[in-house]
Symmetry: C2
Subunit: 114 residues, 2 copies
Amino acid sequence: MNPGDLLAETPEPPYYAVIFTSLLTPDTAGYAEAAERMFELVKTIPGYLGADGARDGVGITVSYFRDEPAIAEWRDHPEHAETRERGREQWYEAYELRVAKVERAYGFRRSTVD
Amino acid sequence: MNPGDLLAETPEPPYYAVIFTSLLTPDTAGYAEAAERMFELVKTIPGYLGADGARDGVGITVSYFRDEPAIAEWRDHPEHAETRERGREQWYEAYELRVAKVERAYGFRRSTVD
């Protein structure tokens, strides 16, 4: 989700954040492969800006999109829809999906003086 | 962060999400205690609605607030400001803070039929 353990880099706001929090069932067969596939697939959506993800018990994925049409295109992607359905049938005990408009953002990077 | 490994329960939108993503330095002495203390402290802020958090490499904490004044009150809390400063000095390699207005939300809970 965060290749090389880097934080997602996003443009100046405004843009959108899709916040997906979830709890898994014990039946996670196929889940990791599907998650990896979805992560590759979302990159093909025009207006997809990046994502951050972590799981320890609760899983959180925050995906960033340029605008609402980009979010709709991802939601309506047939393979994504199919995988979501499998998620509800098999992998997810519970989830929450929140669509939020990012209004402002601040970053910090440690300055390295060698 | 998520007591009993439950997802945060939030009211109907609109409300705000403060999305904090971070990478830690190797020097995490005191970090867990400070994170726990901040989690207790934020609960005292009127308008704080809950939070979800996970870390595996990248850390993500999404805190939910009723409105902007609640976010400002948390930002300006003296002990929080002090801990943020220590974070920049010691614990954080990098972070991003995004303030986003949640416009809509959907939930799923597995129905249990025994």
